[in-house]
Subunit: 113 residues, 2 copies
DNA sequence: TTCGAATATTCCTGTAAAGGAATATCCGCA
DNA sequence: TGCGGATATTCCTTTACAGGAATATTCGAA
């Protein structure tokens, strides 16, 4: 999992853009309008999102339509999966760690008693 | 979905910490050792992660054991869900947008036919 | 080719955040 | 109560990044 993806989503306006694009592809102007951003800032944020591979652009006439790219989302999903799995087994296993500590020290195996 | 979560994960070292904690709770010293961080930086990153609600601390003797908090991950999962759903219906529907454009123009309502 | 709409880029400034080094704090124990 | 290990905090400096304003670029149409 790449920190770049999170970095791109860390900025509130960019997160808003992503969530807006969830409803479908959209040209820059409309994005700026809906989110009440100045056009240059919208373009700049879209640039960052694009560099991070989160969105993709497709020119139509004199507009540039931006849309989401699925892959980073899929990667995030797989990443979350690894945590889900860890959860099931050793979730809150603080005691596991404590047990490790005990083992580390001189304490000899007391035969389970 | 909160940008704070992404912000916390946007820093490579913090992302490493999170992935390290996936294997179980761990005291600061061990985290610092394994990731080759200086202890103060480790503490500082853990502070950020803690403020973001991604980790939780539990004191044991003179150590402080950090562990993951499930909730932000669950929230991220739900968030991803909203995209998965959007995918299924209107994924790449660029043509939807183009159709909208057409509709916007003089094209009269055709009676829902 | 010229014009205008739509969009991208540049320059500037303020600010938030990260690492390094030093230091403070906390806690169990002798 | 004082000590030492473990951890947190502070101060400082450097750098990355966001917004504002102005400007450059692109593309289609006349």
């Amino acid at each position: 999992m790449n920190a770049t993806t999170f970095s791109a989503l860390a900025e509130p306006n960019r997160l808003d853009i992503i969530e807006l694009l969830r409803d479908g592809p959209m040209p820059v102007g409309e994005i700026a309008d809906r989110l009440e951003l100045h056009q240059p800032q919208a373009s700049k944020h879209l640039r960052v999102l694009s560099d991070a591979g989160l969105v993709e652009v497709q020119p139509v006439a004199n507009k540039r339509i931006y849309k989401l790219c699925p892959q980073p989302f899929l990667e995030m999903d797989e990443w979350l999966d690894s945590f889900r799995r860890a959860w099931e087994e050793r979730f809150d296993r603080l005691d596991d760690y404590l047990r490790e500590l005990q083992g580390m020290e001189k304490k000899p195996d007391n035969g389970g008693k």
